[in-house]
């Protein structure tokens, strides 16, 4: 069902983890649908993404697209990172099954959400960046159930 590249990025995901005091953090998706992605960006004074980490709750494609997205933005300027589309992520993975295309959209959105957070924190405006829609922090009030 998945390409070799997807399987590789799922089994050996690149850049898993957290960044303390990250320049920007974005979380998108929601647990109800079964996908949540969180991206941490460490951005230097030249607006270059020095480091990037991710955490993902989701299926194989969700993990693989997160992993690939981090690879694609690492070392890029924030403006270049903004140009990394879901299509680019999919192509880099040699494609995704049709039902999993939304995972690549989520990965693009997660990058945008992290960039948005960075822009807000540093009080700058990034040309072409819109406020991400599915940032779960907007409606995170729902308490998680435990047992």
């Amino acid at each position: 069902m998945y390409t070799e590249k997807v399987m590789d990025h799922f089994q050996n995901p690149r850049n898993v983890g957290e960044i303390e005091n990250a320049s920007g953090v974005g979380t998108v998706g929601n647990a109800k649908c079964g996908d949540i992605m969180r991206i941490y960006l460490d951005i230097d004074e030249n607006k270059v993404i020095r480091d990037v980490k991710f955490k993902t709750f989701g299926c194989g494609a969700a993990v693989a697209t997160s992993s690939m997205a981090t690879e694609l933005v690492k070392g890029k300027t924030i403006y270049e990172a903004l140009q990394v589309t879901n299509k680019a992520v999919m192509e880099a993975l040699d494609g995704l099954p049709p039902v999993k295309v939304h995972c690549s959209l989520l990965a693009e959105e997660a990058i945008h959400a992290a960039l948005w957070d960075y822009a807000e924190k540093h009080d700058i405006k990034i040309e072409g960046l819109e406020k991400p829609k599915s940032d779960i922090h907007e409606d995170e009030e729902e308490e998680e159930e435990e047992y």
Partner: protein, 394 residues
């Protein structure tokens, strides 16, 4: 990775070698059509009858109450649609449960579009139908109650005898989907007041593509497949003789080995359940702890998603299944897990392991070790787990 540990026996089972052996001659030697006149083929009619007797014996039914079909889904469709047609003049109300197989639920939706009213009974947290609610749901125009014998996902066995008694008391037909239960637990159609029962061959080490519908004598349900006099004119089509022979052999095998086999499976099942519960935190056993199919294990692991878990297990040679949305082809997780009250995110992280008589303790130790490692790895990658840990340390 040469190791293969198959723990998806609720999906399908390995066809037993003796079953295949019994079937083989009916492909290559005795291939005649049982409806033919000449002796070469007509002997196959007796062969089919002999299998019918074996299967009827396993249920406490009469041989002429067993109608062979192409499988469990056909049997379920037939039972519902044909009953609705035959008894539609008497009433348009059918009662079923929220945790039925889609062969029942989708057929109910089909009937709803054709003027029937369906009541979907709730289940409790263990997946058991609430008898009180069933009693209250019964109306003047209720023609059928259809509740599965045991659930395919969480393994919970329903109070079939009590449901049957309620149906009988009100003069309502009672159908049960016993696809998972047949060959796993003893079934007596008279004691349970069952009027119709669906079963399938490939769930009990028989071949795929063969099933049956038990129809109690006197129930006036019509033909579903038209075009011939086979199966007492109620199910047309040349008999799948090799399939029927295989099913007969498999049923015989399942019944004779049931006590010993299921005792062993229960022991192994409880062993793995205990290991998972004591060694993996934040998990939940789904389904009734005691009143469940002998080979069924179903867990939810918090903070992780089922498909990821399945792929990781597959890498280690372990075949399992999940009720996560990603594995169901829809956006919602399993309707069964939602019906027992699990929140979406927990239902997404479910895992079903179903044992066979070939499963060993060694296999399960390997599964427990693999599962421990995989769940931890996925949690380390999960933002939900990260948030949870941070909240805990506050």
């Amino acid at each position: 990775m040469d190791r293969l540990i198959y723990l998806d026996n609720a999906a399908t089972t390995k066809t037993a070698p003796e079953v295949v052996e019994a079937m083989m001659p009916y492909f290559t030697e005795y291939y005649g059509n049982p409806s033919s006149v000449y002796g070469f083929a007509a002997a196959n009619k007796e062969v089919v009858t002999a299998q019918r007797e074996k299967i009827a014996g396993a249920l406490g039914a009469a041989p002429n109450e067993i109608y062979f079909t192409a499988g469990g889904s056909e049997s379920d469709n037939w039972a519902l649609v044909a009953t609705a047609e035959a008894y539609g003049a008497k009433g348009k109300h059918i009662i079923t449960s929220k945790i039925e197989h889609h062969a029942i639920l989708h057929t109910c939706e089909y009937l709803e579009k054709r003027g029937f009213e369906i009541t979907y009974l709730d289940v409790d947290g263990n997946g058991e139908v609430k008898l009180e609610q069933l009693r209250e749901a019964i109306r003047e125009d209720t023609i059928l109650i259809s509740v599965m014998f045991a659930n395919n996902e969480i393994g919970t066995i329903q109070p079939i005898q009590e449901i049957g008694a309620i149906a009988k008391e009100h003069g309502i037909l009672f159908h049960t989907d016993a696809v998972q239960a047949f060959g796993q637990v003893p079934i007596d159609v008279d004691a349970c007041h069952i009027d119709m029962l669906s079963a399938s061959g490939h769930k009990l080490n028989g071949p795929k593509g063969i099933g049956f519908l038990y129809i109690r004598k006197g129930v006036k349900i019509r033909s579903f497949i038209h075009g011939g006099a086979q199966e007492r004119k109620r199910r047309a089509g040349t008999e799948n003789v090799p399939g029927i022979v295989g099913f007969g052999k498999a049923a015989e095998r399942a019944v004779t080995t049931m006590k010993e086999r299921t005792a062993k499976e229960r022991e192994l099942r409880d062993y793995l359940i205990k290991r998972i519960e004591t060694e993996i935190p934040y998990c939940r056993l789904n389904g009734d702890r005691a009143n469940r199919l002998p080979n069924n294990i179903n867990f939810s692991f918090q903070f992780i998603e089922g498909e990821s878990l399945l792929i990781m297990l597959d890498m280690k040679g372990i075949c399992a299944s999940s009720g996560s949305a990603c594995t169901s082809g829809s956006l919602d997780p399993s309707h069964v897990l939602l019906a027992i009250g699990l929140p979406h995110e927990i239902a997404h992280g479910s895992l079903r392991l179903t044992l066979s008589d070939e499963t060993t303790k060694e296999d399960l130790d390997y599964v427990a070790e693999s599962l421990k490692e995989i769940v931890q790895n996925l949690r380390n990658m999960s933002p939900l787990y990260e948030d949870f840990v941070k909240k805990q340390s506050k």
